[in-house]
Structure formats: structure tokens, C-alpha cells
């Protein structure tokens, strides 16, 4: 975010004051990031869109998030994670396993580099995938991820570093194979 741009928290406060254009800015900031997290977690586009709407609406409108007391992004992803897990429990499924989501890449629209990342991600464990998504898309700090997952910050740091190394190693291997 560049200097002078309102923070997410400013925009939430503005929106709750009735200024709807603040919604558009927040939506543009999180549309792809939040949807990617939810879609990767549940693996079904239609369901992901429902959950995405539900999560976004809840966090923006429900007063349980106080923009004066915390960052918006960790709260948003925490609610998203809980909703995805709740859905899996209701549906009687095992905890959600991120999958390789179909995308524009499947239509031949993406670059080789993108497809390498996607293939490499698909080869990682559920925990590693989630950590990478929370860090790279959610832009959460190690501490925020630790709070979200109920772990120690040091544990998250070690796991995330291992995940990143595994991803980079896999990407290099795919690059060499190709």
C-alpha cells in the first residue's frame, strides 16, 4: 500500500459510517486473495463463491471486528478458515484439503511460470500449502498466522521456512524437467 492510501481498517470504519465506496476499495484489495484461499480450501467454485460472500459480509458488517483494535487481514482470513472448516464438518467431510484449483491456466491463458508454481504447490502437504497461502496472499505476519492456527510463533516460522524451501526446490525440479 502506498503512502497516503487509507488502511484497510480506515476503510472498514468509513464503510460502517455509511460510505459505500469504501467497500469497492476493500473488495479490490481482497477479491483475489480471499477467494484464492477459500477456493483452494474447498475446491468447488460455486461453494467458494458462497463462502467468500459470507465471510466478506460478516467481517465488514458484523461488529465483532473492531478496526480500532486490530488488523483487518488476519481477522478476514481467520473467519474464512473457520467457515471453511465449519462447512467441512457440516458436510461430514474430513478437514479441507487444499487442491489444485482449475484456473485460467487450464484454458492456456497463463504463463509457464504460473503453471510451475501451481504444480509445485499441488505437491506440498496441506499444512505447507496453507502456510504459504496465508503468508503470500494473506500477507499475515508470522505472529498473526501463529494466532490464527493456535501455534507458537517460532513453530510457524520453522514450518513456513520449510514450506518455502520445499516449494522452491519443487519449482526448480519442475523447471529442470521442463
Amino acid at each position: 500500500m502506498s503512502v497516503g492510501e487509507p488502511t484497510d481498517e480506515d476503510l472498514v470504519a468509513e464503510l460502517r459510517g455509511g460510505r459505500v465506496p469504501a467497500f469497492d476499495r476493500l473488495y479490490e484489495r481482497y477479491e483475489r486473495r480471499l477467494f484464492a484461499y477459500v477456493f483452494r480450501t474447498v475446491g468447488d467454485r460455486s461453494l467458494a463463491e458462497d463462502l467468500f460472500q459470507d465471510v466478506f459480509y460478516t467481517v465488514l458488517v458484523d461488529r465483532s471486528f473492531d478496526p480500532a483494535r486490530g488488523r483487518f487481514a488476519p481477522w478476514l482470513f481467520t473467519v474464512a478458515r473457520n467457515r471453511c472448516r465449519m462447512h467441512a464438518r457440516r458436510a461430514g467431510q474430513a478437514p479441507p484439503q487444499p487442491i489444485e484449483t482449475p484456473s485460467e491456466a487450464d484454458l492456456g491463458l497463463s504463463s509457464d511460470a504460473t503453471s510451475v508454481v501451481r504444480t509445485a504447490m499441488a505437491g506440498l502437504s496441506h499444512d505447507h500449502q496453507e502456510l504459504i497461502v496465508l503468508k503470500q496472499l494473506g500477507e499475515l505476519s508470522y505472529r498473526e498466522i501463529a494466532q490464527l492456527q493456535g501455534e507458537h510463533e517460532g513453530t510457524i516460522k520453522s514450518r513456513l521456512h520449510a514450506a518455502m524451501k520445499a516449494l522452491r526446490r519443487r519449482m526448480a525440479e519442475i523447471g529442470e524437467e521442463g
Partner: protein
């Protein structure tokens, strides 16, 4: 900080998770070591590529329209509700003081314009109508019992 130690901290540096001292040491090493500087640039580029690759999908445009309408309905009360809310809004203390002051001023003004019956004193207005008999000009029929 040598190359081996820095290599271990590169991800933390790229994630902006090192403390101030470690960040300063890492930056100093990068400034003088082309090999590590190259490795750091490559890592940053890869992380950026990962973020872009993971963000490929987005919800359909209809999702945004529907969500915006729902959110707008929740944060913008209807005009009737807005009026009701403004009526229910607690009156601030200075408002009550101003209202009391206005009432006092009105009472004072009306008290001044009223003739003082206890101590009648001829005013200039009274002098001007001296000798005027209202009954002559506006005779009111009197009830005779």
C-alpha cells in the same frame, strides 16, 4: 554476517520478519556480496510469482454486485430509519442549555413588554393616548341584567 548465516535468514528478510539488528546486518552483507544479492533478488521474484500464480482465480462479477448491495443495505439505513435515528439521538448538554437560555430570553422579553400593574407610571405611549376612550370608538354591547 557471512553468506551461510544470511542464506538461512533470506526468507525472513524477504518476509520482513527479521528484527532491526538482523535486518541491518543482512542489508550490509547484501550490499557487499553480489552472490547473496543475486540470491535475494531471485527469492523476491519467486515469492512475487507465487503470489501472482495463486491469485489467478476470482469470483464472478455478479458476486461483487450482490455482495455490494447486501453490504450497502446493512450500513446505509433507509431514510425513515435515518430520521428515526436522528430523533432518538441523545440531545447534547449544550443543546439543553441553549434551549433553556432561549426560553429564558423569551420570558424576559414578554415580561418587559407587559405593563407593570403594581406601579403604574405614565409612559410616552400612555401620554400619546391620553384622553382616548376605547368605548367611544369600539362600542361593545354590554349585557344588562
Amino acid at each position: 554476517m557471512n553468506c551461510e548465516i544470511l542464506d538461512d535468514k533470506l526468507i525472513g528478510l524477504a518476509h520482513d520478519e527479521l528484527d532491526y539488528e538482523s535486518t541491518a546486518e543482512a542489508s550490509a552483507h547484501l550490499a557487499g556480496c553480489p552472490r547473496c544479492a543475486m540470491a535475494y533478488c531471485r527469492l523476491r521474484a519467486e515469492l512475487h510469482g507465487v503470489a501472482i500464480a495463486l491469485c489467478e482465480n476470482r469470483p464472478r462479477p455478479e458476486v461483487r454486485v450482490a455482495l455490494r448491495a447486501r453490504v450497502a443495505a446493512a450500513v446505509q439505513p433507509k431514510s425513515g430509519a435515518r430520521l428515526l435515528a436522528s430523533l432518538r439521538r441523545p440531545v447534547p448538554v449544550y443543546g439543553a442549555v441553549l434551549a433553556a437560555g432561549a426560553v429564558a430570553l423569551m420570558w424576559l422579553a414578554s415580561a418587559r413588554s407587559r405593563p407593570d400593574e403594581s406601579s403604574p407610571q405614565p409612559s410616552s405611549h400612555a401620554v400619546a393616548i391620553d384622553g382616548y376612550d376605547a368605548d367611544v370608538h369600539n362600542p361593545v354591547p354590554r349585557l344588562v341584567l
